[in-house]
Symmetry: D2
Subunit: 369 residues, 4 copies
């Protein structure tokens, strides 16, 4: 079975997430990066091609150039990964779909809600595989949590607390990674809410299988001079009436990437923490606490099939990311990949961001989502 | 120096907090329990006297009986500890103050805001020592955190997250401890918000030295049939404009007594967790993380003077509680005890509860505190 | 029921363990410190009486003075606690037993093996209650571990690893606590092995219910100029053929009081760590890991009856110590206290120390115990 | 720069470590698996080629076939990875070196000491790059620890405790992975000591920069019927006179892959734990404890250059493994890779195994290494 061929859009010198996509996509040897539009600047594009060790000729200067040239090759790309800042997501995806090429897009789906709706229509029309890299849904124990909730291990869900603390934007936003994230022209509607809040939101819906139907948002721009939010509190109500709290911040000094979710139902509780991703804690109403280990014998198939090492051999962020690409490869081969976030989850994220930003700005109290 | 003599109000058979007060008060041998109105039922009162090993004759059937008899003794009580359900706090304190007896009261101060204001007036008029057992402010590392914040270790505070998850009321409220807490006639205005939310609120103001000036409350009664809240989310704004979130719940299955506070300023962060109370984590903006140990050499005087064992010999809840009594004994002896919560902190707690309950019921959005 | 009356031997100004014994003994209000020989120096004795808040007249200058005077009182002492350096243990206990007074002794039992045997004979002849404060056996979850092992939760025990790292003697031995511990004239045969190794040894036999039958010892004096060992490795064989390792050190910089025991049997494993004493981890051969909480609903009677607070309200070192005194009070009242270490456990500890010290000095390889 | 071409020896269907080598080698896109002798059985070899997605024609049935065919290709292999059971290591390496092909070998280097010496001579004669995958030396924070020790952060090292507990062989040795490890014909001299003890040994020498000069070994075969050791205790003396303890076990039920090392010097201590590999704890003699984060700003170049994600995005076992291949790729390109374990470290490991096995069997006490 041949490897699927990937083109990258974005990911030039200095990028963080481009190399992560490359590594994750290739981890299981089902996919190979072969081309890309890494930068609109030719010399930077060439530098990227060199760093990624792909043929210099396949580092293109524009989307058009890439799609035209690749279509002409027998071994042309099967899909693109979009890893550029948010405002490029729609144009890139539009071009890909127009060229008949499947898309794996970083999150958030687009920079605005209108763009998200436009993209959803294009995806539906194109009927091509489309994935969104909500990274944390790739962790085996997140999938285990989801399966256990679905199987009733907690009873009816009553409460969800999802927190995503970071501290790296507590000072001045300096450097390539920081600068575009605090710039509305490139980041879009949301700052922290779009960069990490949307991960937390997706995680909550992904694990619970519930939908948020109302929210109350209080977003703040704490660091002086910041145009976008950098600290977010959002109260949630789910469609089964469960209560929720979503906290995300990028100004909490010392916090690294502390995504944590706690779920409580009528008969049990589950806790998962991204910085120690290989254990899941399960509480029961009768007072028992069990620790479930990634790679261990207690896992169901959703987790077990997405784990590469035995228990005690820690996997992490890159392996979780790779699980999304494994799913996406399955999709491309025509197999089901029900856990891979698709266009609907992407649109859902933008609806969340747009609704939260507007509700907070207008101090609207509880609003529908 | 003789031991101070304590009378207890409440704390009869089946009580949890009465024995805790007794043990905490006596831990440093500065105080001795000698009398009490443990129950309005004579046989239960006698049983309590027996359990506490005090003279049967000093287990009284009424407040009046106690204050009258004790005043007549040369070795009469110096103060009372009020450990009964909330609706008894005001009558008990009123009687004590009228008898010229100092008071150490459990929290929340009273069952209603009107009662709190009445009690404050009485305390001011009586000019007697008055303490409130916000237990968690007695932990050495909480005091260390407070001192470090005051000394500028975090710079200007920007964000406070205080969480108090419990799970013990996720099912039916069964047993003496649970039943009165879910009964408005005995618990007063608040359920979870009054039982544990107020601890979290006090802790946030205690450590930061800031005052909450606005809040937005969303309290829920999750367990069917419950008249009072059992799950609380409260957004906070402090007087220096810092943002805050307070979460408290008693329906989070598997959570024990998980009070946790995280504070972030312009230049640092501090994290403390009640279930592992002997370490405090300190982050700095330049990327260092330090672990401060109770009993260790890095402690300032507020913490060091309230620690009884060397580092590595864990202290806990009872020692923290005893620290409040150590402070209270100092007050009784005419020494300063600036860290002991007094009537102002007690009233403040009731204002918080009353404001949060009303704001939530009316869906009032942000309101002043 | 009246309180039992305690006299203390040792524990004068600057002592660490004297105040701990006082506090622990009195915690449950079954015992009261009323007298003592705190120091051979009168003014220091008076200072101690003041600090402990006992009658000045009952701070005696000698053992003789105390036993004579107390015997003459109607409310004379019921027992003594011996908290002085090791070389005082035997003379103090001898005097107490001769006076018909029960004894609670700190560990190690004596300074030499000959002394231990002499004391054992005296205890047997006197037929008085005698306890030894192997503190860690007082922790509720240690007792839970013991009960689970006895009930077969691990199957046949195969392996025991007990580690007791400390770092406080990594530098010069400065101060009252450090100085006598490194002085053979006061500490006796062993340094680290007698100060903390013996705790680890007792814990291993206590929890497993097994006896060590052979050992191989390698004790070192790492800090230059030290006459006694400060770093110990001892290999163990138990009477059921289980293998064991005991590590104890006082030169491991940064280690506080990190006693940790891990037990493995044919079908399960148990892990307990003194610095986080309120959880016990239980592994089963089929891959499950359970966390057992102090105060929780999963506890058997040995643990449940020695816990004072609900789960999540941490107890620690002082409460564990108090559990030994609770047991000792039961003994004094004529009730059984099967978990309290007595003279046999005390002698056993000295045999361990003496055997290890000799075996190490002679590089004897495996020797019988 | 072209990718380096790797051939694999071993790693057929059911293998654990073969896929790990493939993934690790390819992670940074500097290396590509192109060929292999996965199995002596043709159909199993073909299945492996399919699973690894390599050309079926390059799955060879014998070493000879591979080296002959690959030498004839312009795009023939640059090196082999040897991932077969231990007794195949020497023949495989011998064939590779004879064919002028560099070698990356799994540990232990060989099955016997004589084989190790033979191989060392061959490597020296061939003057080809040779690496040994002591996986744990690839972790960024292990390298950070090494650099800090070398820079004097602990002062002179006094004590090393390295523990490697596992539990997966506590029951019957069932399945491909277990079976060869308990079979002397395939595993060689050592069971647990060769499978994981040697990792612990290498880690201790790697981080400290010291050499073990004496050891005392006590190896046991705990599970009935086992021919090789499954539980090991080894006392160590280093060339600077530091004391050490090495514990390794495969019968500790519930332990996963709990490699942990603690180092103590005159002025500091360092602790690292493989199951939480992204933090390193550093203690100083003056009582400070610092937590160093992988990806954080406190790292020196050895760690920083071997980390792929920012702090808080956990890396694990596979990334550590990939770091060894990154080093090996550098070697192949003629660059220095001073941290990659080479033939000397491989021989050293076998000397350790052979010495420990012999010393334990003969109960020889302390022996030279």
């Amino acid at each position: 079975m041949r490897r699927l061929r990937m083109g990258m859009i974005g990911g030039g010198p200095g990028a963080f997430i481009g190399p992560v996509h490359r590594l994750a996509a290739e981890m299981d040897r089902e996919i190979e990066l072969v081309a890309g539009v890494f930068s609109s600047d030719a010399s930077r594009g060439a530098a990227a091609a060199d760093a990624y060790r792909i043929e210099p000729a396949r580092a293109y200067a524009s989307l058009d150039a890439m799609f035209t040239a690749e279509r002409a090759r027998e071994d042309g790309i099967d899909f693109v990964s979009i890893v550029s800042p948010n405002h490029h997501h729609l144009p890139a995806a539009r071009a890909a779909l127009a060229a008949g090429v499947a898309v794996m897009s970083d999150k958030p789906l687009t920079a605005t809600l209108a763009e998200a709706h436009e993209l959803a229509a294009l995806v539906h029309a194109a009927a091509l595989p489309f994935g969104v890299t909500y990274t944390y849904s790739g962790y085996p124990l997140v999938r285990e949590a989801r399966a256990r909730v679905a199987a009733g291990a907690l009873g009816k869900i009553r409460k969800v607390v999802v927190e995503y603390p970071q501290g790296w934007l507590a000072g001045e936003a300096v450097g390539k990674q920081a600068e575009w994230r605090v710039d509305p022209a490139r980041a879009g509607l949301g700052g922290c809410i779009g960069d990490i809040g949307v991960h937390a939101f997706h995680l909550a819906e992904f694990i619970t299988g519930l939908s948020v139907v109302e929210l109350l948002a209080d977003l703040g721009a704490v660091v002086p001079g910041r145009a976008l939010d950098d600290d977010c509190t959002v109260l949630l109500r789910f469609d089964n009436n469960a209560r929720g709290v979503l906290l995300a911040s990028q100004i909490e000094v010392g916090e690294l990437n502390g995504l944590r979710i706690r779920l409580y139902g009528e008969t049990g509780g589950l806790v998962w923490y991204q910085e120690r991703p290989n254990t899941l804690t399960w509480h029961t109403l009768d007072g028992r606490t069990e620790v479930i280990h990634a790679g261990g014998s207690q896992l169901g198939p959703d987790a077990a099939s997405h784990t590469r090492t035995p228990a005690g051999h820690p996997e992490g962020y890159l392996e979780a990311f790779a699980n999304l690409y494994r799913d996406f490869a399955a999709l491309l081969r025509g197999e089901p990949a029900p856990l891979l976030p698709g266009i609907a989850a992407g649109v859902r994220g933008i609806e969340f961001i747009a609704t939260a930003v507007a509700a907070s700005r207008e101090q609207a109290g509880w609003v529908k989502l």
